[in-house]
Symmetry: C5
């Protein structure tokens, strides 16, 4: 998984039917400098969200089957490869 | 998933039979600077498209089993690892 | 797998129910210069831990199904894509 | 998938038995600058080839299950994670 | 797959039981400059080895299910995501 900050949302009318009713967030990945300060890596992920994360919040994003298990546990046919799995309250770094 | 812009298409006569009749687009991945402006990351993806996306349009691309579920839901044997899953109408960033 | 150093932990109350009771560590990936000295790549991974790794320790992190097999061997439905699989005692580089 | 140029081949006598009789090519990944010119990203992939691609040719490489479906459609047990899936005739970028 | 050079080994007493008796090598990924000279990308992979590769040797490393098929063909439950699949004798680049 990676840690990032929600920076926005994308929407569309022309899309795969499997995405109907799904919320897609833009998440900017975070890294940590040697001195402990955070910075953005420049990598932006489009992640499905079912935890109602808001812009500005720090989240953990899971990928691949981890993301599919977050949206529909045990399902192999859900159309997703990245999902918000927790809204971070705190961290020791 | 990632956000990108369709920049072209590739075609071939010598190819795996499973790609017969499939449309493959070149998608240039987008990132966002701290000030909110967009820029290209330099990563170019070859993505299968069944939504008739055009050059210049912003799209969301899914990977791995997410892409296979976009092209043939529930199938594990379709030859694809990246697919256009929506044509973006708008975004808050 | 990759080699990294545990730099902290993240916690949350709003999270996917499948993460209940799971410990998530922040691991900073290590690389090696030509002269044999180590440095951080800047990539920070959020990895599930069931080996009680401590901050400052070097660990090996596995990804994807490798991580799921570390947490629940043979299971395809566990929500994880990265896991600590060993706490390094030593290395020849 | 990604677009790249075949730059060579690797061979070995000491190898996993599952690679017996398989051809492995070195493919250098291509990207596109804003002005439309191509350049190499520096990433070199070792890809299995069953399309007889030659050095200097542009190809599309698929990864993961996409690559396994290119070599043995529907099989989950073939030892490969990257495969040449088409030899490019042309592209609009 | 990728091409790399074995630069060392890691060992541990505190580890996932599934890694008992497994050898884990550190492999530094190789790339090729435009003029044909090789250089290291800086990415270091921890790869399982069952081919007795030595420090200094060039190897091919497979990932994901490709790696699992190298260690236990057809198995989905082996704890590995990267494995040495051949010791390179030569290459045309």
């Amino acid at each position: 998984m990676i840690r990032g900050v929600v920076i926005g949302e994308v929407w569309a009318t022309r899309k795969n039917p499997a995405l109907q009713g799904r919320k897609l967030l833009l998440v900017s990945q975070l890294s940590v400098h040697m001195d402990g300060t955070r910075h953005f890596t420049g990598r932006v992920i489009v992640a499905m969200d079912n935890l109602d994360a808001d812009v500005g919040q720090e989240v953990v994003v899971a990928f691949g089957s981890g993301a599919r298990n977050a949206i529909e546990p045990g399902s192999r046919s859900v159309l997703v490869d990245a999902a918000v799995v927790q809204v971070i309250d705190g961290s020791s770094t």
